[in-house]
């Protein structure tokens, strides 16, 4: 989310000075803290910083990417022990220990993320719980390596041969905290961060805009675990003594709580959460049981009352006021028209050829031996009664389902069974029968997601805010804004998609598909839930899309729009094609009239 689009909200603008002052003040306090505070509070602050790093790491996978795992403490512990063993037993310097911690935690993350290929929700929670237990066992029982339940002693913390005093320890930890925060900031404010949210919100739509869900889950957990590993190695070196008890179930609950309180999937949430969770018990000097009971109560209550956490709540407030503002500072933009998306013929006359397509679900044949040819630059409608297999056909073409038999040839290339995230790169964009927008992203982010296949900047570019990243992000957002303008929703760009009407949401989906610069656009019931005016608007837009050479394959029940804008119509029933031809031919076909249109009805 580049600068020019987010900072135009009047509220942010008004208070941006205050935000800067607040940040500088915090930085100053943190820098000066060891001099003002006593030993006890310095130590408290160091632990606080380490936990913030831990919580930030955990939030990347569980908050942003939506993979709720319970192995935070195990990974933290593995990191701590890996670095401790490297430093003590292998006599390596601290930074090598940290590297070892990151390698080990990275490897453990694969143990969790490889099953996450297939499973989520409760299974993921269970797998991670199992890993928590297994790591506990290893730490306790592999005594030759970890010295078991008695604990592990480290030498005094030294970096580059200098042993650290209390002051320098504070600054070293603080330095790593800032480093991790900058890393997270760069990552989250790039397409990577939005991709993680997209995977969390809707895997099918994410795959439809070119995200390989599996890859991103693995990456999210890897990054998250490595950050936790850094925290673990800092913890080990700082406390000079670690024991398996520290890394048990309660620490996992603690991490979970910090994220829940602060706000999952937010940049500042983990930090605020850790501060709250660390400081609250200090006030009433509670016994450990009472503290845990309060923590448990907070977990139950906050999840239901304040799902977004503290930061989420604040953001909601700001958003409500900001919503009505749209992007300013556009600079010199040429007036936009659909011409920009013109597609030139670069392949065979039939852009999409489906041969003998069959899909069986168990004993049910949803689509049987379907042949279909879609001519370039036409609007081709697929109609048929409910349950006729239309959506299945489209799913087979776009790769969401794999066909049992048959082939799909797009633009001369066989794409049978190709994953959606690959077929989108070939130029197939689609919308969905039930709107699939990313609900945690704004409207303009949603549209910009369509253009994500054109990003070329690397993760390093993202983290260091390189010129290339800024340029690409700016272009992508201007483009998204143009797309919104084309469908007439530019005034809604800062809204949450959920606050739009169904018709508007459908239009946003079309804008997102347009942003993919497709050759073929597949629309699955674009008019469902729309009123007459909206249908008329939509059919104008579809016509314009067709007029610039984008082929449209459309499923629709609305006979007026089907008859009004289609060039060709295919009628299917029970997974079989019963008629095909131009609009006039099909509407005159006696079989169709009987089976679908009803005998008396004349095409409108």
């Amino acid at each position: 989310m580049p600068r020019f689009s987010t900072e135009t909200g009047p509220l942010r603008k008004k208070y941006s000075l205050w935000f800067t002052i607040l940040k500088l003040a915090l930085l100053f306090i943190c820098l000066a803290f060891p001099f003002i505070a006593g030993n006890y509070y310095s130590r408290f602050a160091i632990i606080l910083f380490i936990y913030i790093i831990l919580s930030i790491g955990y939030d990347i996978s569980s908050g942003y990417c939506g993979m709720l795992t319970l192995s935070g403490a195990a990974i933290f512990g593995a990191g701590a022990y890996a670095s401790a063993i490297t430093i003590t037993t292998l006599k390596m310097p601290f930074l090598v220990g940290m590297l070892a911690a990151m390698v080990v935690t990275g490897l453990i993350s694969f143990l969790i993320s490889l099953p996450a290929y297939k499973v989520k929700g409760n299974y993921l929670a269970l797998i991670s719980l199992g890993i928590l237990e297994i790591v506990q066992r290893i730490l306790n029982d592999w005594t030759s390596l970890t010295q078991g339940a008695a604990g592990f002693f480290l030498p005094q913390w030294s970096i580059f041969g200098m042993s650290l005093t209390n002051y320098t320890k504070y600054y070293v930890v603080f330095f790593f905290l800032i480093l991790i925060m900058l890393f997270e900031w760069g990552l989250i404010k790039s397409h990577w961060g939005r991709d993680f949210v997209a995977v969390k919100n809707d895997e099918i739509a994410a795959s439809g805009v070119g995200i390989n869900n599996r890859k991103f889950k693995v990456i999210a957990l890897l990054i998250s675990s490595m950050i936790i590993g850094v925290a673990g190695s800092l913890y080990a070196s700082y406390s000079e003594f670690i024991s398996p008890d520290t890394f048990g179930f309660y620490l996992t609950i603690f991490i979970l709580l910090t994220v829940v309180i602060g706000g999952t999937g937010t940049l500042s949430g983990p930090a605020i959460g850790v501060v709250v969770v660390m400081i609250i018990p200090e006030f009433f000097n509670a016994s450990p049981d009472l503290k845990q009971i309060v923590f448990g109560g907070l977990l139950i209550i906050l999840t239901q009352v304040m799902p977004g956490g503290i930061v989420g709540r604040i953001k909601e407030r700001f958003r409500a006021i900001e919503d009505n503002r749209h992007i300013e500072n556009l600079g010199d933009r040429l007036p936009i028209s659909f011409e920009k998306y013109r597609v030139h013929a670069d392949g065979p006359e039939n852009i999409l050829v489906v041969k003998n397509l069959t899909k069986r679900f168990g004993g049910l044949t949803a689509v049987g031996n379907l042949d279909l040819a879609v001519k370039r630059g036409t609007v081709h409608s697929l109609i048929g009664p409910n349950g006729a297999g239309k959506t299945t056909t489209v799913n087979l073409i776009t790769g969401i389902d794999k066909p049992s038999e048959g082939s799909v040839i797009f633009n001369g290339e066989d794409i049978t069974g190709m994953e959606p995230f690959d077929s989108v790169k070939r130029g197939i964009a689609r919308t969905y029968q039930h709107v699939r927008l990313f609900k945690d992203l704004r409207v303009i982010d949603n549209v910009a997601m369509g253009g994500r296949i054109y990003y070329t900047y690397s993760m390093a570019d993202a983290i260091f805010h390189s010129r290339r990243k800024r340029k690409e992000e700016k272009e992508a957002y201007l483009e998204a804004y143009d797309c919104l303008k084309l469908i007439g929703l530019d005034s809604k760009s800062n809204f949450d998609p959920g606050s739009l009407s169904t018709g508007q949401q459908k239009l946003v989906e079309i804008a997102r598909a347009l942003c993919e610069k497709p050759k073929l656009m597949v629309l699955d019931e674009p008019c469902a839930g729309l009123n007459e005016t909206e249908v008329a608007e939509l059919s104008e837009i579809i016509k314009k899309i067709r007029d610039v050479g984008i082929t449209v394959l459309m499923i629709e029940h609305h006979m007026s729009i089907v008859m009004g804008i289609s060039d060709y119509i295919t009628v299917i029933d029970y997974g079989k094609k019963i008629a095909e031809g131009t609009t006039a031919e099909v509407s005159a076909d006696p079989v169709v009239r009987k089976a679908y249109l009803g005998e008396e009805v004349t095409a409108c």
């Binding site: 929700g121 199992g130 829940v260 009472l290 845990q292 448990g296 109560g297 977990l299 239901q304 168990g362």
Partner: protein, 295 residues
């Protein structure tokens, strides 16, 4: 022989726990992460009544069952009910863990941290059976578990209530339209799960000793058994429980005790990866795809 009985006895506990998990997840699709604490509470309450207030075994057991039922209902009302669609919203994982640590720490405050000896059934009498010394308690564990399992399957298959449970498990919203109060059914499943949990807790307590941490690792094995049998599949849960007990008993002959406890988690992870539906979903049990029954 010794190992076989031992495995079956442990397995019976895993089976009861998996049944308790399965009852809840068959109707709601969630995994009750707080159930281990309910098991513990059942055991602790009956220990308290027996040792401090001199209750005899059976009344203590019944009070424990009542307490566990109430606890499970409270957990449903406070942690699950208000979350709405449980498939989209994974908030229940967080709230149930919250409930779990609250219960654990209440137990710690009420009953102290010391593990307490818990009386065996029949005063720990031994019998010799094919040259192996077997405690009557262990035989009783197996018997009770089997009786409960069979009784539950009968209820599910034969009674009106059972049909309602199956309907809710399959399509909660549709069942509501058909005049079944889904929420009531779910609530009674939580209640039954509480009762089963308490029985499991009382039976395992003599072996693990009664303390607030008694179900930390056993509870996880309950999950492993439930995974092995397939979530929400109460028949599978039972088989999974006994199977896990046997596997553990026989592997423990070859490996040291510390590693033995990790085995069930390794099995759980492997099953989740390769057979997410549990063993009952494996092809050999399911030639006919429509036979994949959920309850």
């Amino acid at each position: 022989m010794q190992q076989l009985i031992f495995g079956l006895a442990n397995g019976s506990i895993y089976a009861l726990m998996a049944l308790s998990i399965g009852m809840v997840s068959s109707t709601t699709g969630i995994v009750n992460f707080a159930y281990a604490s309910v098991v513990m509470m059942g055991a602790m309450v009956s220990w308290w009544l027996m040792v401090i207030y001199q209750f005899s075994y059976i009344p203590a057991l019944f009070v424990a069952i009542a307490v566990s039922i109430v606890l499970n209902i409270v957990i449903y009302e406070t942690c699950v009910k208000k979350l709405g669609n449980l498939l989209d919203n994974v908030g229940w994982i967080i709230t149930l863990f919250g409930a779990s640590i609250i219960l654990d720490n209440i137990a710690r405050m009420l009953f102290g941290t010391e593990p307490q000896a818990f009386p065996y059934l029949f005063g720990g009498k031994m019998v010799t059976f094919f040259g192996a010394n077997i405690m009557l308690h262990e035989l009783m564990m197996i018997t009770i578990a089997v009786v409960i399992g069979v009784a539950y399957q009968t209820i599910i298959k034969k009674t009106r209530f059972g049909r309602a449970v199956r309907a809710v498990a399959f399509r909660p919203a549709t069942s509501e339209l058909m005049g079944i109060k889904s929420e009531k059914i779910i609530l009674s499943c939580f209640a039954m799960a509480g009762a089963v949990a308490a029985i499991g807790g009382v039976l395992i307590a003599p072996i693990t000793f009664a303390s607030y941490t008694m179900t930390y690792s056993i509870g996880l094995k309950g999950f492993a058994a439930a995974v092995l049998g397939g979530f929400g599949n109460t028949k599978g849960a039972f088989i999974g429980g006994f199977l896990l007990g046997l596997i553990e008993a026989f592997i423990s002959i070859f490996v040291p005790a510390g590693i033995k406890d990790s085995i069930s988690f390794v099995i759980m992870i492997i099953v989740i990866i390769f057979l997410p539906g549990g063993i009952m979903s494996a092809k050999i049990f399911n030639r006919n795809w429509s036979a994949a029954e959920k309850v």
